[in-house]
């Protein structure tokens, strides 16, 4: 059945835990292309190179259990002991359709976080992530 997805259908899971108070997420997938145009060609030709996945999300800073709120993402960057190679997160960017989940799943590093407090506004945390390796699941 045809369905137009909206923000109501969006979910964000970090390490398998659905995050609450997510106001948006976005994912960008890019493919580097290699120019294979030779002398004598009138149009450029390309060969596929490597792929890259990155994106961002905004979470309202709602204090809950520390695993399902913005603190989960923030703690991947805001830490006293630095970031190790193993400090990746398992991200699932999900659109739901009834009981069916349409996921893009990737392993990523949280590369930046921005959060603050403003008078008259709910505090929110903006995070950016950089995928590492191939997507681990695509069911869109």
């Amino acid at each position: 059945m045809a369905k137009a997805y909206t923000g109501r259908d969006g979910r964000l899971l970090i390490d398998g835990v659905e995050q609450i108070k997510v106001s948006n997420w976005s994912l960008t997938g890019t493919l580097e292309v290699l120019d294979t145009t030779t002398l004598g060609d009138n149009q450029r030709t390309y060969a596929p190179g490597v792929q890259e996945f990155n994106g961002s999300a905004t979470l309202l800073y709602y204090n809950d259990d520390g695993r399902n709120d913005a603190a989960t993402a923030l703690k991947n960057v805001l830490r006293v002991d630095g970031v190790d190679a193993t400090d990746t997160v398992d991200l699932r960017l999900r659109l739901i359709e009834g009981a069916t989940n349409h996921d893009v799943r990737l392993t990523a590093y949280i590369t930046s976080v921005t959060f603050g407090a403003n008078v008259g506004e709910v505090s929110s945390a903006n995070i950016s992530f950089q995928g590492t390796g191939a997507l681990t699941e695509v069911t869109i």
Partner: protein, 124 residues
């Protein structure tokens, strides 16, 4: 083994020169003496960007088959692709052939893709 019949992505040709020697007198007059009848030392640089590794290997195989910079050879018309002048004008001068001036340079770009640069020099 022959030089690979692939179309380059870039090409730079230097026509070389006739062997001459120049003498300058105290008066400032210059005298030039021609020591040969053929233009020599023409140079050709061919670039093959983002070719398959299989094609890149053709250059290494050809380099081996020619004992590196030892033997001279002719190159196929594909190397002059895109040149709308007379083909001979950017080939080895009459009476000369190409040899490798230096080993081909193979730069790995991504899995299965490499870029190759070949430097040739025309010799009698």
């Amino acid at each position: 083994m022959a030089f690979p019949s692939l179309r380059p992505t870039n090409r730079e040709f230097n026509p070389g020169d006739w062997p001459t020697k120049t003498f300058n007198s105290q008066s400032g007059a210059e005298t030039r003496i021609l020591y040969g009848t053929q233009r020599t030392n023409a140079k050709l640089q061919l670039g093959y960007a983002n070719v398959s590794d299989t094609n890149a290997q053709l250059f290494l195989d050809d380099y081996n088959a020619n004992f590196g910079t030892l033997r001279k050879f002719t190159i196929p018309a594909e190397t002059r692709t895109g040149w709308e002048g007379t083909g001979a004008s950017i080939d080895a001068p009459p009476g000369t052939q190409w040899r490798y001036e230096s080993p081909p340079s193979v730069q790995s770009i991504s899995p299965g893709r490499s870029s190759v640069t070949v430097n040739l020099i025309a010799v009698i």
